[in-house]
């Protein structure tokens, strides 16, 4: 009585426990890689489609009003943004691969944004756009998350509304130029249809009032 039955058993338990523990992280990293590759593939496909459509009507005089891929792309943009946010959470904000995909995503958004504006002008469509500038730094994240949820809700209620999200802290020339262009100084800030700016405490009534005025 009062003795350790088997020191070897403790060692074996430690090894088995450690192996299972490590494998848990290995498995999730494998799935993360799959998610990352899947996202990258989709992003490449979407950007390819956008570039192809754009070249068709810019170089080969295709009728932009007949192009309808932008609808599918709009829905997918939302999914892309959220997937990138998930990867950012898991890999970390400073992961090079995720940063690259995030910048790439911003470029794809802007291409789409430009195309939508052209369609509105040339084809008499009435798509509404919101540029959403957010931050995921500790002091701003709660306000930005709340604004993001509000915009999701509004997008669900308005079928012709497209929301483009940009991280104001992203290290990219395009983002810096975009911020300068719209005078973005704080987050969250939204720009409705290129003109109407709302910053700070973003309220539902404010956004809906602006959308009604534009309509």
């Amino acid at each position: 009585m009062g003795k350790i039955q088997s020191k070897k058993r403790y060692l074996l338990a430690f090894l088995i426990g450690t192996l299972i523990f490590i494998n848990g992280f290995v498995v999730t990293n494998i799935i993360l890689s799959i998610q990352f590759n899947r996202l990258s593939q989709f992003q490449d496909q979407i950007s390819f489609t956008i570039f192809e459509d754009k070249l068709n009507y810019r170089l080969f005089d295709a009728d932009p009003c007949a192009i309808d891929n932008f609808n599918k792309i709009s829905k997918f943009l939302n999914h892309q943004g959220r997937s990138i946010a998930n990867l950012e959470e898991k890999f970390g904000k400073d992961d090079r691969g995720v940063k690259f995909r995030k910048i790439f995503y911003s470029l794809v958004e802007l291409e789409h944004f430009e195309f939508i504006n052209e369609i509105n002008e040339k084809c008499g469509k009435d798509f509404l756009t919101i540029l959403f500038f957010y931050s995921n730094h500790q002091r701003d994240i709660d306000k930005s998350e709340r604004a993001g949820k509000l915009l999701d809700y509004i997008a669900q209620k308005n079928e012709n509304l497209i929301i483009y999200s940009f991280d104001i802290n992203l290290d990219s020339n395009i983002i810096e130029n975009l911020k300068k262009s719209y005078g973005i100084k704080e987050s969250p800030t939204i720009i409705i249809n290129k003109n109407n700016k709302i910053s700070g405490n973003i309220q539902l009534e404010n956004i809906e009032k602006n959308l009604i005025l534009i309509k």
Partner: protein
Amino acid sequence: MEFITIVIYTSIYIGLVATAFYILTFIADIKREREFFTEDELPKVSVIIPAYNEEKTIQLTIDSILESDYPKDKLDILIVDDGSSDKTYERASEYENKGIRIFKQEVNGGKGKALNKGIKESRGDFIFTMDADTIVDKKSLKTMTRYFKNPEVMSVTPAMVTREAKTIMQRIQSVEYLTGLFLRKTFAALNAIHITPGAFSAYRKSFFEKHGGYDEDNITEDLEVALRIQYHKYTIENAPEAPAYTIPPADFNSLLKQRRRWYVGLIKNTWNYKKLFGKEYGDMGMFVLPIAWIGIFFAVFLTIYYTVEITHNLILEILFYNSINFDVFNQIEFNVYLFERIFFQVFTTPAIWFILIFLIMIFFYLRYATKKIGKTESLYLNVPIFMALFAILFGIWWVVSVFYVVFNREVSWK
């Protein structure tokens, strides 16, 4: 990495190592040979049933002992009515013609006092203590007594399971007790059992004669005896093939009161027997007890943390939904992308995989339990309820108990 993430994964890591150790111990113990009393060697045993206001259940309890296959000439049954104000004494008295002895305490003095009275009046060399709402399988007495062949064994514990599972709380406890069977057997293999269930356990009478009876001022006198046995370096065995069925509390409040008494008692008694931690007490002192208390610490910490976190998030959510006039259905876009995102969100969280591993372990614990005691009802319904709610309840019970100890609040029996 956030501090809470470190805490969670540290607790998971410790849980994995501990689980691996207990499984290895269980496997090693399968080959171990034990000595058992033969049929002829079975000694005289006394079954002491202390009872306070148990008129509804006491006859079933007595009947289950009378139906036992233990040799009747070696079976001594005593009822100690602890000053009941109902008809417990009268119900018990109906069995006097069957050789059952009944003692009446004029004043309610508590379970410890009633048990000590029973020990004093007992005629057997071995004592079973039994709650007046417990019933046992007919082979349990014999199965448990056999273990006392080893002179170092001072106590034998049964396969403690629940009698009925009608309410949600009872269903949760039903699974909890079943999963405990595996652990109790493993603890016995390490001689690390530190709780002998008050509902039904067996003791060598000479232990009480040498080291004193039950502590009459203790709210968990059964626990104190177990720790005392370990303190004196004797052995506590477990008989997983000896089922004993207890009635679990049916609702949240009565269950909370029970667990509060148990855990406050565990804290206070463990403090009194803190010498049990350490090298001197082998696997129990170096591993089983420290791991159990580390687990409790994590449970308390995580319960407090997530209560605050969830309350904070709930307030934010309510404020948000208030701002959109609670129009919930327009909040979520249901499409295949949503399910893909949920899938990746869930399965890229390592904790989910570890939870799956622990769920698989629970499945094996339950397989073991049902193999030992036979089929149990409604397992497929009870297990998901247990998975969903037990961890939360466990955290609440411990937080409340720690609060009672820290602020020195009194805990009564009922």
